[in-house]
């Protein structure tokens, strides 16, 4: 099941995301902490990378750090906040070019940088596909992403009310592809079977169940070999999506 980010108290999670410590005015001190928030997040990310998000229980993260389970609750209000912190951490890890940083000139290549790094992020942290991002952690990583993608489409000449939709469409498509790849990798690990083997195993039973009459388009494409030598669907889809956005923008430029 998907973990739901975005259920966390903003007054508590925002200072954590931006790593603002409490003012600590009189600093009365007390027992010194064994850990830091960063150490907890890093251990959780490492565990999730290795064993998946379901295996990233509070008990296992604590064990990896050599402390008792309940100690974690000193650093993080609950597991939900920990997941938010993990997510923004890896989002920021893409290190997308900020304002003033060097980037490709062509806007399509700029989108390419975003797509490549996002795919790499999901490959390194496939558990990310288990966390919905409809209410994302409002942290540095998430804001850097929005800034970068918006900056790539801002100069195209789109009308004002289409700039954000275009950026969101690009993000949605890129993320969908990266998530499918991540889910695939996790299944391969969990089952020891590749996607190709999985489909092959089912193809052997294909003729028992497949009704040619009800699926003429599939059958025709199959017989013509159209499933075998397919182009990469996400590369193709992103290319034509960008074509469509560019054509839309061109319609508003002076001819």
């Amino acid at each position: 099941m998907t973990e739901f980010s975005g259920r966390t108290d903003p007054e508590r999670i925002l200072p954590l995301l931006w790593r603002h410590r409490a003012p600590a005015a009189g600093r009365p001190t007390g027992r010194p902490p064994k850990l830091t928030v960063d150490a907890v997040v890093a251990a959780a990310v490492a565990l999730a990378d290795a064993d998946g998000l379901a295996a990233t229980s509070m008990a296992k993260v604590a064990a990896r750090l050599g402390v008792g389970t309940m100690t974690l609750y000193t650093y993080v209000p609950s597991r939900a906040e920990l997941v938010d912190l993990m997510v923004d951490d890896v989002l920021a890890g893409r290190a997308l070019p900020g304002p003033g940083d060097p980037r490709p000139e062509n806007w399509r290549d700029q989108v390419g940088v975003y797509a490549d790094r996002t795919r790499a992020m999901y490959r390194a942290h496939p558990w990310l596909s288990q966390v919905t991002l409809v209410r994302p952690p409002i942290g540095p990583g998430m804001l850097a992403e929005r800034e970068y993608v918006l900056s790539t489409v801002s100069g195209l000449g789109l009308p004002l009310h289409r700039i954000n939709p275009a950026a969101l469409a690009i993000t949605a498509f890129v993320t969908a592809g990266a998530r499918q790849e991540a889910d695939s990798a996790q299944l391969r690990r969990a089952t020891g079977q590749s996607d190709d083997d999985w489909w092959l195993q089912r193809m052997q039973l294909w003729e028992d169940w497949f009704d040619v009459e009800r699926h003429p388009a599939m059958t025709e494409l199959w017989n013509a070999g159209g499933f075998h030598e397919s182009e990469d669907a996400f590369g193709y889809g992103l290319a034509v999506l960008l074509d469509g956005i560019a054509a839309d923008a061109a319609g508003f430029s002076p001819a």
Copy 2:
């Protein structure tokens, strides 16, 4: 966390998906069953619709049917198979036009039918967004979807190796949108708070954290009002994606 479909033994799940009973040759009979597979699946879907997939435990499904928990294991090998059956059931529930059934003439409208019914499906069954479909149940519902989407792009004149990628890109984009909407609906239910309220609550803390210098494109678009009167991102994105596919196909047609 996402539930992983596609981990199920094909020899057991395929007959269930297609509802082929064992031959029952000598039919020795025995104690008559209280339930059917369909009844179990229907109860599980109803429960998931109402309370979400996490709340759809074997114990709760059994309770809803008035039987002991372990009784369910007579009908389905495990919870994983039950989820597969639930998924194919609701996929088939879209009742997409099959070969010979009436459908819009224009291919864009045909895709529109697919998009609208898929969105409606995710609205009715938001738990679907928790199940990855990279190894989907090979059942009637899933095959009907592939057949329909492929049939809409088959007549465009695309080269053979781009027909399936185009169909997959459409599915990926439509599904990504529907899933975001579903996640949003689930969060609204779980928290009692709409997305707008959620963002508003965080906007109030915006100035404490947001650095204008690092986010010039966002800032400019915000000040110009580009976030307020935004067009629907998924409607816009699907339109330009189809534009891009059509333009690609036109490049192969005789001029």
